[in-house]
């Protein structure tokens, strides 16, 4: 495993070492978020999807998000990993884990990280539908009903 706090993974991620990285004697709270591939989006049945990234820029921007979270919230550790490549229904697309002395900071930082990752990091989702169609998702700005 890398010693970065944000990275892209092109294969399934083992959660045990991820969680272990967050352990800390000062940590009383651990919050995590996982994005899973759903079987539908906006009412359309989904068969599977693929994530593509502009890897160099995504790595830099993801690291920036993690640094912002560490600066804003009283944390012990924070880690985020995002899958790229082909994923099936139920697969984990993204994992965010945060440990902190207190739960407020852990929850707030976890949410901050996933919100910013979804908003700013150059990763794109290509969905294949049961009806044979497939498309890249380029959501409208937040507040206009962006999915998930």
């Amino acid at each position: 495993m890398t010693d970065r706090d944000f990275w892209l993974a092109d294969a399934p991620v083992d959660l045990v070492p991820l969680r272990a990285r967050l352990q800390h004697d000062r940590a009383g709270a651990f919050a995590s978020f996982e994005g899973w591939v759903r079987d539908h989006n906006d009412g359309r049945p989904v068969l599977g999807l693929r994530y593509e990234s502009y890897v160099e820029l995504a790595q830099a921007e993801g690291a920036k998000v993690l640094a912002e979270a560490r600066a804003r919230f009283a944390l012990c550790e924070a880690v985020c990993v995002h899958r790229i490549g082909d994923l099936a229904i139920g697969d984990m697309a993204v994992w965010v884990g945060v440990s902190a002395p207190h739960r407020g900071a852990a929850f707030d930082a976890c949410r901050y990280i996933i919100d910013e990752i979804k908003d700013r990091v150059p990763i794109w989702k290509h969905e294949r539908y049961a009806d044979g169609d497939a498309t890249w998702l380029h959501p409208e700005p937040a507040g206009d009903g962006a999915p998930q």
């Binding site: 994005g35 994530y51 593509e52 990234s53 502009y54 160099e56 820029l57 995504a58 830099a60 921007e61 995002h82 697309a93 993204v94 996933i114 990752i117 979804k118 908003d119 700013r120 990091v121 150059p122 990763i123 794109w124 989702k125 290509h126 498309t135 890249w136 998702l137 380029h138 959501p139 409208e140 700005p141 998930q148």
Partner: protein, 80 residues
């Protein structure tokens, strides 16, 4: 004339039919450059929906076009 390297992702790559290309331009800034490229490849998304990056870092649309730079037009992201 300035030579730049263009990178395409997601729907822009599908529309362009390629993931990168070398482009000769006289465009003074990145906004004008995108207008040229959009016209050529028929991109649906206007610049207002995109971000732009130069040499692996986000840039501004009114930044000048630097020769030999690597420029990526970033359509709305959908990770997570």
């Amino acid at each position: 004339m300035t030579d730049v390297r263009l990178l395409y992702f997601a729907s822009l790559r599908d529309a362009a039919g390629r993931s990168e290309e070398t482009w000769q331009t006289t465009a003074p800034d990145l906004r004008a450059l995108y207008a040229e490229v959009r016209a050529q490849h028929g991109f649906a998304l206007p610049a207002e929906r995109l971000r732009v990056a130069v040499d692996g870092a986000f840039a501004r649309w009114d930044d000048a076009v630097r020769g030999d730079s690597e420029i990526a037009f970033i359509p709305p992201v959908s990770g997570g």
